[in-house]
Amino acid sequence: MATIGVGTKDEVRKIVYEFFSEECEVSPDELNDGVNIINDLEGDSLMFLELLEIFKKKYNLNVELKTVGKYIVKHPAVTIGEIIDMTLLIIEHENRLADLE
């Protein structure tokens, strides 16, 4: 289980913001934690999948997509803030995400 420090939190936040800014072609200034990826940015699930792949490579994570999928069914993440929080949980728990309630 990885320990999430301030540095990692900042890094994840920066990557997520840059990712959605680039993918959805909006200025970073227009984004905030409350922005809804689907409704406000016309994003889709493939974007989350892509983001997940980025973090899997960056942090060498041992996590199966379907583990994340099962978690998302119980805990939907639709805003930028929620996606950042979920990403931090994935980095922290990897496949043990399945054990979380």
Partner: protein, 318 residues
């Protein structure tokens, strides 16, 4: 100047539009207007709905097919008039007809007739039963295969990439499978607004009827190889074109393998000729060193100094 092979790839109907395709094409030519007029003269094509529907969310499946074909042919014309030489052509699902137009195997009007006739045959074959198509994202192929194993009617009709699959069969079972996929951990599932199970075994009669029609159509050998999405062979003759168009109606397709085959043949640049950027998005989960240029990259592609120049393709090189 780049010296890599270039492929023109064509999306299917049902893709989400950018909304400004007309303006992008209009910056370079009158193709969109001209082709729209020609389509309206040739088939029952609703130009009013085309003009009003910028999102691509057409109510009528046939009109939706015509519209994507029209946009795709307009972009194909643009690409050909620029300095871009394409070595291969490939069409995703019903994008095949635009791929054949690009390869000069069929004319614009013939493509419209092919779309219309295929649609009529498919509609006739499905008139008595309720079918559906769904997309599953976030599982791998073995998971999806296991998921549908208990349903005799369900098939994976297309593999988009490593993590995205289209399934088709009876509506009720498609919905059950999608629900099961979410329980299995799929990141997303979506029941599509299509009523006909394209590329499935339920289309055998439709394929047979379509093939009879194809025997009467004057089809030319492609000027550049068209890659079959069914078995990834190179289609280089009119006889093979007819076979591929027939197979495309009732056999499963595999876009992942098609792209992989092209990448393996040295294609480093794919030009997505059509509305939206669905193929660009799918390609993000396909391995290899390549770039996909969707419609909104056309300006950059055509106006920049970075001219794409294909190298001669060989039929044995793929």
């Amino acid at each position: 100047m780049r010296q890599e092979k270039v492929a023109a790839i064509f999306p299917a109907f049902g893709c989400k539009y950018l909304g400004n395709e007309r303006e992008i094409i209009g910056e370079f030519s009158d193709d969109w207007t001209n082709l729209s007029d020609r389509a309206a003269r040739h088939v029952r094509f609703d130009t009013g709905e085309l003009a009003a529907c910028r999102s691509g969310d057409f109510k009528d499946e046939l009109q939706s097919q015509y519209a994507v074909y029209l946009y795709s042919c307009a972009v194909s014309n643009l690409v050909k008039r620029s300095s871009i030489r394409t070595d291969y052509s490939a069409g995703y699902s019903m994008g095949l007809y635009a791929a054949l137009y690009h390869a000069e195997s069929v004319t614009f009007e013939q493509g419209l007739d092919l779309i219309h006739t295929a649609y009529q045959n498919i509609k006739k074959a499905t008139v008595k039963l309720k079918f559906g198509i769904g997309v599953i994202s976030g599982l791998v192929r073995s998971d999806v295969s296991a998921l549908i194993a208990g349903f005799a009617d369900l098939e994976i009709i297309n593999i988009n990439n490593k993590f995205s699959f289209l399934i088709a069969g009876f509506e009720e079972n498609v919905r059950k499978a999608l629900s099961g996929a979410r329980e299995q951990g799929a990141l997303n599932t979506r029941y599509l607004a299509f009523t006909m199970p394209y590329h499935s075994k339920f289309m055998d009669d439709a394929a047979s009827g379509f093939n009879k029609y194809l025997q009467s159509v004057k089809i030319h050998d492609p000027v550049c190889p068209v890659v079959s999405t069914i078995d990834q062979r190179l289609v280089t003759s009119s006889a093979e074109v007819i076979k591929d168009m027939t197979d495309n109606i009732h056999r499963n397709i595999n876009w992942l393998n098609t792209m992989t085959r092209l990448i393996g043949a040295g294609v480093g640049a794919f030009i997505e000729c059509g509305p939206g950027k669905s193929l660009y998005k799918m390609a993000k989960f396909i391995d290899g060193a390549f770039t996909v240029y969707p419609a909104d990259a056309l300006r950059e592609l055509i106006r920049s100094d970075r001219v794409l120049t294909g190298v001669p393709a060989t039929t044995s090189g793929i």
